[in-house]
Amino acid sequence: MSRVADLSTLPKPEPTRGAPANRPRGSGARHVDHRSRAQTRVRWELLRNLIRKDLKVKYKGSSLGFAWSLANPLLLLAVYTFVFQVVLKSGIDNFGFYLMSGLLVWNAFSGSVSAACGAVVGNANLVKKVRFPLLVLPLSAVGFSAVHFALQLAVLFVVMLGFGYSLLGPELLLLIPAGAVALLFTVALSVLVSALNVRYRDTQHLLDVALLAWFWINPMVYAFGLIENRLNEWTWVYMLNPMAVVVTTFQRAIYDPPEGNSTGSAPILADLGYRYYLEHLAIAGLISLAVLWLGLRVFRRLQADFAEDL
């Protein structure tokens, strides 16, 4: 090609492959960012602003909407108590409280993974026009769900205390490690699917189906003992699912089992001590870290092409 660039003005630059200040997104997943503390703070502020935006947009002008989303677990509580305790006679004492103690954290998990999946695709215009740390997109979806979850949990506690339920005890402290593992695993999976969904748009559909099935391999509407009776020494396989560990720990922390921890045929809680949970949480935490490592890798690999793929 004959080029008029022969009129080019400048001495040909030596191709510089040094450390450019402005790397394209994701190129060199490994590059150590010498970012100052101020910059890190700015990123947290951005994350907070995005979460606040989501909350504001969702509940704008309707404090009723907000109230509804908090009342939602109460409604579930009433319906499930009726269905399982009165109609189906599940045999689990205070079935509603048992269910809610596991269901809230599951809903937060599945809601945020599902929302995070669409987080990058849904902000296509932003991604194509502005350079900013893209990881905040899935993280803000997680943050949004986390805020909801915390409020719903508080509502549940108020109701339980209102019913004179014995809630307060040292076992509540289990919520801290369980919440941490839940957050870690949710972030890990959210980051992974948000990136995959940009390249493979059917990720969202597959994920939604998977979450429906996944719901049932957590002991939420049935007693943990049913699984244990069936799987016996293979129960550990069931517990490789970090959410199953999180759910059982939440139940141990919140739910107060009847005398003997039994539905008659099967124990309700996985264990009455603490150690069992802490050990399983440690394993779940390691699994979550592995997923997080994978998720960040995939995200960093794919993010350089987000603007092009969208």
Partner: protein, 418 residues
């Protein structure tokens, strides 16, 4: 040569180092934007696996039409330069800005930009219509990398610049499109960038707003920030920029003085007549080509310094019915189609005879000029004075005078008088 306004001018300088006057980074000014060998390929959409199902079920190896939006771009921009980026639609301007901004990854080559970048690829990108102007200012500014404290400090200034104080608490969806971009621009320019990358965002908004934006860009320029902006207004480039980059089909076809680049671009875009209105094919004497060299018959060169010798060679094609004595009148055309000087054959003309012939005009010492110049050739019958044909050539030669701007170098003194 028949007119081919879009074909690259047939210049093949023997020395590739020929250089048109330009404003390279002032010696010592650090390079802040650097692109080396940058190419960007877009893969045809249908070629990419876009679902997990396809990814695992079908191994697609069909070679679709990949598209190179940028080819082999080498650019260095020094601190404080104001550079215009021009080219036809689809020539890759936005793609280049996105690559420099780090939004797109170049397929090959490397890019580096130092300092804080503000890229105005679209004003108000990321605004949420459901939120108030105030909330959007905070959100947008934090996307652009400002901390809350900085935004608090700048908020009033942003609102004042946008002239939207009365609407700042209204939802943005109720803003007019002009108000929307005003707020977007106001936020973007408060990022306090070292490097400003601006796409064609100034085309929107009313005239008053455009003027305000340009004033802001001019202020940035005067503050010594580095600016690269896309515009279709060639006048704007001539007025505001030190330098122009011209893209065509993803390639950088010109990098240098704005006046030269805009002229080239006008020709490429066909807004300057590339040919004479007189039916050229019927003329018995046709100027078929011009060439520039130092010595008659020497290798073609396009770049000269003042004081050097220049030979303008006009190639003629004569039919049997050509007049015996041919008179040539050659005009050297500057920017804006202003004739700079004129050269002609002796009044009696020359007698080339049928066939082809070359007439050389030798300029022993070029004056102190700055710019790129084109050639206009008029042919007439020397005996009768009848005009035969006129032809305007696209080929340019450049003269790089010692001055940084202006066509002429003029000696002067600056004196203070009280």
């Amino acid at each position: 040569m028949p007119s081919q306004p879009l074909a690259p001018p047939p210049m093949q300088p023997a020395q590739p180092a020929a250089v048109v006057p330009s404003a390279p980074p002032a010696p010592g000014a650090p390079v802040v934007i650097r692109a080396a060998g940058v190419g960007k390929k877009f893969v045809a959409y249908h070629k990419r696996a876009t679902s997990l199902k396809e990814r695992f079920v079908r191994r697609d190896t069909t070679s679709g039409e990949d598209f190179w939006a940028l080819r082999d771009i080498d650019v260095e921009i020094g601190r404080g330069q104001t550079v215009g980026l021009a080219g036809a639609n689809g020539s890759g301007k936005s793609t280049l800005l996105k690559v420099l901004a780090g939004i797109l990854r170049p397929t090959h080559g490397s890019v580096s930009v130092s300092g804080r970048i503000a890229s105005l690829l679209e004003l108000g990108a990321g605004f949420n219509g459901e939120l108030s102007g105030r909330d959007n200012v905070y959100l947008n500014a934090s996307l652009l990398g400002l901390s809350k404290r900085e935004i608090d400090r700048l908020f009033d200034s942003i609102v004042d610049f946008s002239e939207l104080r009365h609407k700042i608490d209204d939802e943005v969806k109720h803003y007019s499109s002009g108000q929307y971009v005003r707020l977007g621009f106001a936020v973007a320019v408060h990022v306090d960038p070292d490097v400003l990358l601006v796409d064609e965002v100034l085309a929107v908004g009313d005239e008053a707003f455009q003027r305000k934006c340009l004033a802001k860009i001019a202020q940035f320029r005067d503050e010594g920030r580095t600016i690269l902006f896309v515009t279709h207004s060639l006048d704007l480039i001539e007025n505001m920029c030190d330098r122009i980059l011209v893209l065509e089909s993803g390639g950088l076809i010109f990098d240098g003085q704005p006046v030269v680049g805009t002229k080239l671009l006008r020709q490429r875009l066909g807004s300057l007549p590339a040919d004479s209105p007189i039916p050229f094919d019927l003329a018995p004497v046709k100027p078929t080509a011009v060439a520039f060299s130092r010595n008659p018959g020497g290798p073609t060169e396009v770049q000269y310094d003042p004081g050097e010798q220049l030979t303008v060679s006009v190639e003629l094609d004569l039919t049997d019915s050509a007049p015996q004595y041919v008179y040539l009148h050659v005009e050297i055309m500057g920017q804006g189609e202003i004739p700079i000087w004129m050269m002609e054959t002796p009044p009696g003309g020359v007698s080339p005879g049928p066939g082809t012939a070359v007439v050389d005009f030798v300029v022993p010492r070029l004056p102190e000029l700055l710019g790129a110049f084109a050639i206009n050739v008029r042919v007439s019958d020397a005996a009768t004075g009848q005009p035969v044909t006129v032809r305007r050539f696209e080929e340019l030669f450049g003269v790089s005078g010692p001055q940084v701007a202006g066509l002429l170098k003029v000696d002067y003194e600056a004196r203070l008088r009280r």
